[in-house]
Symmetry: C2
Subunit: 407 residues, 2 copies
């Protein structure tokens, strides 16, 4: 075995910090706050409303077990062999049929969750300095991955009806370069829980098409409606200029890491090449488990079950807030998704509130993490799908206590 001599040992120490010279990309990728919070939620006594975690007691474990057995018996070793980059063809066909009627399985690429879809599309589109449009606030995982590609962020305020169209028009006229895309979550957005009205969907799609700007529509929460289905998707309105991203993380199980991109065939070919270079293909077994479940009659039942359960949890959460905060938080009962977007008075700095809450054994996410540009600092994102009713009761009480101390 090679033993470094004294001189070399010294070399190691002197040069170590310099041997590995990261790219500028590394320096500019921010750590994800929620991922960091996920690490502290195992602290004893900590109650967490931080992650966008589905309720894992509702996962159809027994069904997945049965599907695994049947699939392994039926498909054998092929389930564990290298496979096609584009992904499970039956699952792709199922996705088109359910979400993109009239389009073909050839327009779908399966990904390792929708986070990989975002990374892949960033790779595809973004040059350093490319202007990209996105909502204010927006999903922090998207902001994180976009940041690593160093775009020029243009934030458009997300109101209760959808993005501010006048602001969008202004941005489109004043941008020195045509934006590469508009990234948006039109359905029960993370974090705001707002959705686009039908009117906004139509005018936004038209406006972006006229300006030659593609839409990246993230549909992660679209199935999680508590009252009525949302209006038609942007992808159905304008399939020619919309790329749609979806995931089974919220409707089935995030640990399986199965998501997808739906894009016009012509560009999908290039996306597949990128995916090849990123990880060859996503795990075959996971796609098979998802397909086995969603293509069975049990999927609709399961969706009804989680909608009912999350609705009940959102109502309970709402009641707890009302009981503790009275009218001091302007909250509306949730219509879907996984989050309450708590708006505090301007004088409350939620970065500080968040820190103080952590000390009291309460994890949430400070609103500032969801903004590009100058952040608003008076929101907290509160997940209601994961905690039990009792935890929610205690959690809201803890929050109120900290809030009272600060105001």
């Amino acid at each position: 075995m090679y033993k470094p001599n004294k001189k070399m040992g010294k070399l190691i120490i002197e040069n170590r910090s310099e041997i590995f010279r990261p790219s500028a990309r590394t320096e500019r990728t921010p750590a994800s706050v929620t991922r960091d919070i996920l690490k502290v939620i195992d602290t004893p006594g900590m109650i967490s409303f931080a992650g966008g975690l589905p309720d894992d007691t509702l996962f159809p474990i027994q069904d997945l077990k049965n599907i695994f057995e049947t699939s392994v018996s039926k498909k054998g070793p092929k389930l564990f062999q290298y496979a096609d980059t584009q992904g499970h063809s039956d699952l792709r066909a199922w996705i088109t049929e359910r979400y993109y009627p009239g389009s073909s399985a050839e327009e779908i690429l399966l990904t390792s969750g929708s986070q990989q879809a975002l990374d892949l599309l960033s790779r595809y589109f973004i040059e350093e300095g490319s202007p990209i449009l996105l909502e204010r606030p927006s999903y922090l995982g998207a902001i994180q991955v976009f940041s690593s590609y160093a775009p020029l962020f243009i934030g458009i305020n997300y109101t209760e009806e959808g993005p501010d169209i006048e602001e969008l028009k202004y941005a489109l006229t004043t941008s020195s370069e045509r934006p590469k895309f508009f990234y948006c979550i039109p359905d029960f957005q993370n974090p705001s829980s707002y959705s686009y009205s039908l009117e906004i969907r139509n005018s936004l799609s038209k406006l972006l098409l006229e300006n030659g700007v593609p839409i990246l529509e993230d549909t992660a929460y679209r199935e999680l409606y508590f009252q009525e289905q949302l209006p038609i998707s942007l992808c159905e309105i304008g399939p020619e200029h919309t790329i749609s991203i979806g995931t089974f993380s919220k409707t089935l199980a995030p640990g399986l890491r199965v998501g997808w991109i739906k894009a016009p065939k012509k560009i999908l070919k290039d996306l597949i090449v990128q995916k090849q270079s990123m990880d060859l293909h996503s795990a075959t077994l996971n796609q098979e488990l998802v397909y086995g479940f969603v293509s069975s009659s049990k999927y609709e039942e399961h969706l009804s079950l989680i909608r009912k359960s999350y609705r009940r949890k959102s109502e309970h959460t709402f009641d707890c807030f009302r009981k503790n905060f009275g009218d001091s938080l302007p909250l509306q009962i949730s219509k879907g998704g996984l989050f309450y977007w708590l708006e505090f008075p301007q004088e409350i700095d939620t970065d500080l509130l968040f820190q103080k809450c952590l000390e009291k054994g309460l994890a949430t996410v400070p609103g500032s993490s969801f903004f590009v540009g100058k952040p608003e600092r008076n929101h907290l994102r509160w997940n209601f799908s994961n905690a039990s009713e009792e935890e929610t009761k205690i959690g809201v009480e803890r929050l109120f206590e900290v809030y009272r101390e600060m105001s």
Copy 2:
């Protein structure tokens, strides 16, 4: 529903090609030849020696089934919930114990196969124009993903003992900028099947350390020895300046997509942030299945089984070549790995040979795909682990037939 008016319909047609404007990165990522070949191997009558496919009849399916059942019963829903980015802690500990004695599980990051490890390290290191060192020939999946980051490739000839050290010295002295890393496969390389001698391992590690250049060591084939274990790994020789990449794709099953990076703790933190932004984390279930199997007593048995089986297949392949080609191909019997690197006389263009073989129902990979810079055009890569003995017999005969026609 929104219906585009005539004017808009026209707009769609005129602008469609321009609406999606890919990055330069997209333009420069080459499609992977093997992935494309994988698509044609289902043609009736086609025999393939193209992919680096392990023999799937040897996959321990029944064991994986049992592990799945036990794990689901024991860990329940947590197996399907969001999980830590760094990956399964027991599996990380197992990897360190087996491959990196003396280091800690904190130095391991689990990835979706080793291809993702290569992408992640490219992200971490490469700026446009960064010089990087790699072997000539080298793994085409690595060349593909590196290419998308637009480095300046510096190829170092891989001889039967390892890289040409004098050439490496020359490259280090003449490079205008210090190379970001040296990427290498010291064990039964893909495609050449060469390995580094102990002497080369020691001098190469020392030379690169003295020049402040980190090593990315790809250990994909290290376990697949047919006679004796290979000398100490570069990572054991110089852990301070070596990042090691590994995978369970060749030793267990590639469809599970489980690989890893072993790197000094200090830089691993940054790698984890990149991984967060890429896909949050790799699938929990797959890591659990791998852990269940490799930590059991069955893993060693399984490794013995595949070593024996691949050795037998490599010997059979060798015999077929001898029988058909006699001395016209300078072949040595394989010592490990998955490939024969066939060297034809200079006047045979293997790009053309490859095409003619495809027409005869025989898939291989032309050698030119494995070179950065000016490719050598007289090699074919021949995988021996996947085909049956009968297929191998017919395959070699077909190859010889085409070869005879060309010479």
